[in-house]
Amino acid sequence: MVEVLELTAMPTALRLYAKALAPGRRPHVKAGLPEREIRLIGHRSTVGEVSAYDQVCGFVLTDRLPATWLHVLTFPLQLTLMTAPGFPLGLAGLVHVSNSMVQHRPALVGEALDLSVRAENLRPHRRGVLVDLVGEARVAGEPVWQGRSVYLNRQQTLAGAPAGGETSRSRGPLAAGSGKQGGSGFDVEAQSSSLSSTVEPSSTPAGSPTGPDTATLHTAGWWRLPADLGRRYAAVSGDVNPIHLSAVAARALGFPRTIAHGMCTHARVLASLQARLPDAYEVSVDFLKPVLLPSTVRFAAAAQPHGHRAQLTNRTGDKVFLTLSLTG
């Protein structure tokens, strides 16, 4: 029986992060995930907040909400779920390793969206435990957007074979044809990734974005990501995770400087494809390495028969931060 927790207003991430810091007992990860769904009914985005988000991420302001903005809307619901009693994983050190979204049809500015988030697919990983946070936006009962964020918790372990191959495949609304969902890992030590066991074999129609055919991508931009990008994105997205805002907090978690929000770099890549986005599409991203701020990253992209592939790397291209695959 799924317990439904219906919110009356959009929660603020700041309060939820503060709550996450408060000491409290958590059930052991072996107990599994609580059967719970967080909902917010009839949420409307305003032109002002979408415009501010668009300007930071590079979208042109249209009536259509960027898919990544719908993630932003469900993110406080994710935090609500993960800080509610009975959730086995702590927020501290939680790493967003991959994200996939399906846009069924454009969601519009000012449209009343019913938002929901649940957690599923708790599974072992070589470096800890993976969990999927699955979000959905509906309009009058009809799903317009679904998103799956895969998070890695490195404080916990779970008995069993580490996720890899088919076992990392997430079940759920995105399973059909959406490709990588629980796949690759986030190399927090910023060394060459040895997580190949978690990278699925080519599962997207046009091949894995991390596959050998990345050579066909062509450089489409050098992006200067400024030192205050974390603060600017936090201001428009509400994600005030200190690792993106303060060098002190970043150092406490093992990074020399602040790091960019993964969903911010994702949004910028999606924004550069905005003019070519069809009404309905699927997009998957793997966050392979953190992007330290400030830095200049190389954006490379290629059109393919049914969409686009893209990646962000360092200048030389030997360090891949993000890969994206879009079909539609």
Partner: protein, 427 residues
């Protein structure tokens, strides 16, 4: 030389115009122009198509937007291989773009083109003042930390006063309304006549919206589906109650009600070779027969700043051997109600047409029931560069409805003492 082809207006698209600080306060020129182009692309199935050329522009423009139109094309559904350029002739921007591109189509250099304009009074650029700008440039060029500190230390609080763009003439310091107030006085235009014209503009535009006339000329944007400045329930009595804002003393007659509001918006028109359009089963509404641009000496001469269209009209009619009365419709941009009335008065003046325009005599009066029949800028709003394209698309559709051969005269005045007048004819 090969015979000239027929360049036709296929249709137009615009966003509903917004009031300053209104529905589009968060939108940039790039956002607005992209929305207008995308709406046009959607209406005529141009997604992924390479258009011969897109010419558009803005009057209030950020320095980063030097390539605004090309950027909008890249953000739009049009093929990224569509070339584009920016054009700027104040309030005549998009009409000038349409005239130029239409000529390119006629001589066979292009098959299809988009002309347009955009302006956002809400998102207007604010520049640092000249003293600070020079110091910042010096700071940027400074080689040593000492030079940098020295330059920074030279910044005075007074340097921080920003420069806000104004609708003021650079050479006279008078804003557009103050200039027009002088012309209004010169031509003896009454307050009552101005308010009457303003009320008619609102009522005509409201009727056109209610009739669904704009259904295929406008695409809603950011939740706005009708022109935000439109007041269907305004009246001559209500307008008469407003205080004058331009001009001095008892003779001041120009109010916020009979002057155009500052606005945000974008408009585009699709132009094509007639054959090209017919092969694709696209509508063929009208064509630009001819156009004339005039400029007046408003500095040392005694001509009003916004009187250039009167000059352009005289030359255009002479060249085309037409009388002012040979038109089914007249579209005169309502920068101010009195601009329209001064233009009409000028055409009616024997003395002015003879002595100032060098014509044989007065061009005469027009049937006022044929003037701005579906409203104009007083009611719709006036995002400067977008206005020409708004009027051209409206006029083309109105003429097409009246049938082949019906003829319209389109007049737009512009800052700097300029004006563009075009003859448009239903195909």
């Amino acid at each position: 030389m090969a015979a000239l082809r027929n360049a036709v207006i296929v249709g137009g698209n615009r966003v509903p115009f917004g009031r300053i600080g209104g529905a589009y306060r968060s939108a940039t020129n790039l956002d607005l122009l992209t929305a207008a182009i995308d709406g046009l692309a959607g209406r005529f199935g141009l997604a992924g198509e390479r258009i011969g050329e897109v010419g558009a522009g803005a009057v209030l423009k950020h320095s980063r937007d030097f390539n605004l139109t090309r950027e909008a094309v890249l953000s739009s559904a049009l093929s990224a291989t569509t070339p584009a350029y920016d054009v700027q002739q104040a309030c005549a921007t998009s009409l000038t773009a349409a005239v130029q591109l239409s000529s390119r189509i006629r001589v066979g250099q292009l098959d299809v083109a988009i002309a347009g304009g955009v302006d956002s009074a809400s998102d207007s650029p604010i520049a640092v003042n000249d003293r600070l700008r020079r110091k910042l440039l010096r700071l940027n060029a400074a080689k040593t930390p000492f030079d940098r500190v020295k330059t920074l230390a030279s910044v005075r609080p007074s340097d921080l006063t920003p420069e806000v763009p104004q609708a003021a003439e650079r050479r006279t310091g008078l804003n557009m309304g103050q200039h027009q107030a002088l012309t209004t006085l010169q031509w003896g235009i009454t307050r009552e006549a101005q308010d009457e014209l303003a009320a008619a503009s609102h009522h005509n535009l409201a009727r056109a919206w209610a009739d669904g006339f704009f259904d295929d000329l406008v695409t809603p944007y950011l939740g706005q589906s009708i022109d935000q400045s439109l007041r269907p329930d305004t009246s001559i009595e209500k307008l008469a109650a407003l205080r004058p804002v331009f001009g001095d003393g008892v003779d001041a007659s120009m109010t916020a009600g009979n002057s155009t509001p500052l606005s945000d918006g974008a408009a585009v028109v699709l132009l094509a070779d007639e054959e090209w359009a017919r092969q694709r089963s696209l509508p063929v509404l009208a064509r630009i027969v001819d156009a004339e641009t005039a400029a007046v000496d408003y500095l040392l001469g005694d001509e009003g700043l916004l009187m250039a269209p009167a000059h352009a009209t005289g030359r255009l009619l002479t060249r085309n051997q037409l009388a002012l009365q040979d038109f089914d419709l007249y579209e005169i941009h309502e920068a101010f109600a009195s601009t329209v009335l001064c233009t009409l008065a000028a055409w009616e003046s024997d003395e002015y047409c003879r002595d100032t325009l060098g014509l044989g005599g007065a061009l005469g009066s027009i049937d006022r029931s044929k003037l701005n029949v579906n409203g104009s800028s007083l009611a719709a709003g006036h995002p400067f560069a977008a206005t020409g394209a708004r009027i051209l698309a409206t006029l083309a559709k109105l003429l097409a409805e009246r049938g082949s051969g019906s003829r319209g005269l389109l007049s737009v005045c512009a800052a700097g003492g300029q004006g563009v007048v075009a003859i448009v004819e239903a195909v």
